[in-house]
Symmetry: C2
């Protein structure tokens, strides 16, 4: 289990403001899944909202629509291989989370942690977690595969995000930005203007 | 004027895939404006679509709704000060573009270039440009300040993006990711898994 502290909800947008790739975790009944999503963003401050694209063909779509919930997990570079793996394979017919956890790709205390509010699991080894309830917009979901969510709980690893600021301590504990193929950018240097 | 080459439309999503902060430029009649937007993402591949949050209080909102068009410009670190400036001040009552161009903040061949398809200007000193037509979704626009656009032309500086790949040549010609206050992250190192 990753260390985590609660992030005040009006500050939750800061966890996504710099545009990281996320893992979308979901659960319904005895099924659960996780997928990667570069196409996500903050949508509002307070109450905090987010937007994320979830393709019709995915198991995640089915679980999110059935449960009305999802979690956006902000993965660290140290689990970039996991992020790629869960973005490359469908969860249909397998427990992708279990498979990935058992594969050795996820070497950092492989596992998940129960969220505080929603049923979808929080992925260990991430930097931050946003528990979300779907804001039902059937037309937008159907036409654009676009899901809007209200953030109902937010968490961050206090070694990486605290007092409203990211402060990546090392190369492995940085957020990542998907390019294509097996390539990512790490979040780079902070600078002020 | 920045050097630019056309990007094939099915590859246009790559210009936003890693989550950079963008400048939204707009024009209607004899008015034009530019604002910064961290909350943007790709929405579809082909035809390419994007999503961006444009607050009700902004002049950009008025111009985008009146014209049905906008451009997402991907600024380089070298114009981070411009990005912050146009994100901090309203364009109402002033020609913000002109003011910024004349302020000396935008030192790299200050100016704008006409787009190929839409009326909104392309901001010089950027790395890439996505010309977009609004996909009218009045409910989504009104309720969430969320605008969807179809990308009708896409351009990139060939020294920075070509053959479907980013290859940032130096520290100043990198995309940026807004944090808060006057702080950004530069897009960092590329890595593969």
């Amino acid at each position: 289990m990753s260390e985590r502290m609660a992030v005040p909800l009006p500050k939750a947008y800061l966890l996504l403001n710099h545009g990281p790739t996320v893992l979308v975790s979901s659960a319904h009944g005895d099924r659960r899944n996780v997928m990667a999503a570069a196409w996500n963003m903050a949508l509002d401050f307070d109450p905090p909202k987010v937007a994320v694209v979830i393709d019709k063909s995915t198991l995640t779509r089915e679980l999110v629509e059935a449960s009305g919930e999802f979690v956006l997990n902000v993965p660290a570079r140290k689990i970039a291989a996991l992020t790629l793996a869960v973005g490359s394979e469908s969860g249909r017919g397998i427990d992708k989370l279990l498979k990935v956890m058992q594969s050795g790709i996820h070497s950092d205390g492989a596992g998940t942690t129960a969220g505080g509010v929603v049923t979808a699991p929080l992925i260990d080894g991430c930097l931050a977690w946003l528990e979300c309830r779907v804001i039902p917009e059937p037309h937008t979901q159907k036409t654009y595969d676009l899901f809007l969510g209200e953030v109902v709980a937010a968490w961050a690893d206090p070694e990486v995000f605290s007092t409203g600021r990211w402060h990546f301590p090392d190369a492995e504990r940085r957020s990542i930005h998907y390019i294509s193929g097996g390539s990512f950018f790490a979040t780079g240097d902070e600078f002020s203007v």
